[in-house]
């Protein structure tokens, strides 16, 4: 059952990712990206990481992708006709390099990492949320607080960068 689910979710995620990278219109890219995020969330659930899967859905598929959609609508990109991307020999060379990268990682990791199945979860195990919380709020408390500062900086930065300039500040 797990194998079947893995292959289904894996194929959905992979095909959606291919569509994200290779389709022409930005709206299509965003929609297939959302599908990729959902596929990845399913894979996280399969890996017994339910909390992370829900955070992925809420943060990535729910907020980040919606932000992308807003920006695409705001810039009215559908009307832009961009010139053709890299063609011909250079494109195939690039694809070859990327595939080589992917296949190079795998044998290296195979030597280093164990290959057996994961150990089964017993009924007495704490929930995923519980386990994450224990680490996050004790050992990793400082990085947690720093991320809130990072988010503050990102909010201020995004607002400042994207605001419209009025005529007064142009001449000031």
């Amino acid at each position: 059952m797990e194998t079947f689910l893995f292959y289904v979710l894996g194929v959905v995620t992979l095909v959606s990712a291919i569509c994200v990278v290779f389709l022409r219109r930005p709206i299509h890219n965003v929609l297939f990206m959302i599908l990729t995020m959902i596929g990845l969330a399913g894979l996280f659930v399969l890996l017994h990481a339910e909390f992370v899967a829900m955070v992925q859905l809420v943060v990535y598929a729910g907020a980040v992708m919606v932000l992308f959609l807003f920006v695409i609508m705001l810039l009215n990109l559908e009307r832009l006709r961009l010139p053709e991307d890299v063609q011909g020999l250079r494109r195939w060379f690039g694809i070859l390099v990327a595939v080589g990268m992917a296949l190079l990682v795998f044998p290296v990791l195979r030597v280093v990492l164990p290959a057996g199945p994961a150990k089964a979860m017993s009924a007495a195990d704490l929930t995923n949320t519980d386990l994450i919380a224990r680490e996050l709020f004790t050992t990793y408390l400082l990085p947690f607080e720093i991320t809130s500062v990072l988010l503050l900086a990102a909010i201020i930065g995004a607002v400042v960068l994207a605001r419209k300039r009025s005529k007064q500040t142009e001449q000031g």
């Binding site: 992370v52 990492l113 224990r134 988010l151 990102a154």
Partner: protein, 100 residues
């Protein structure tokens, strides 16, 4: 039976696809999306390793990666909007003011 290598291979392929997108697309928005795809591939690697090596720290780090990715996307898109207002295009070949 699904082993660790299945997940790692899937994550490696997603990462390579994201890298192709970053290298070969000229639309700034799509480049940012491919960057997100690479970060998601790394997330999948972390979660898979967390499961198969029995440590929860991988998942904690994934939360941090998600925070950083969200912040980076917000600022990146703000830059894209500002560039579009300034230059009228988001084709990265046309945004070449600092080019040698």
């Amino acid at each position: 039976m699904v082993t660790l290598h299945h997940y790692l291979l899937l994550a490696a392929m997603l990462f390579a696809l994201g890298a192709i997108g970053v290298m070969f697309r000229r639309n700034l928005i799509v480049i940012l999306m491919s960057l997100e795809l690479m970060l998601n591939a790394v997330n999948l690697t972390f979660i898979a390793l967390s499961r198969y090596l029995g440590s929860i720290e991988g998942q904690v780090f994934v939360l941090f990666i998600m925070v950083v990715a969200a912040a980076e996307v917000a600022v990146g898109l703000a830059i894209a909007v500002a560039v579009y207002r300034q230059r009228g295009t988001i084709n990265i070949n046309d945004i070449n003011l600092m080019k040698w």
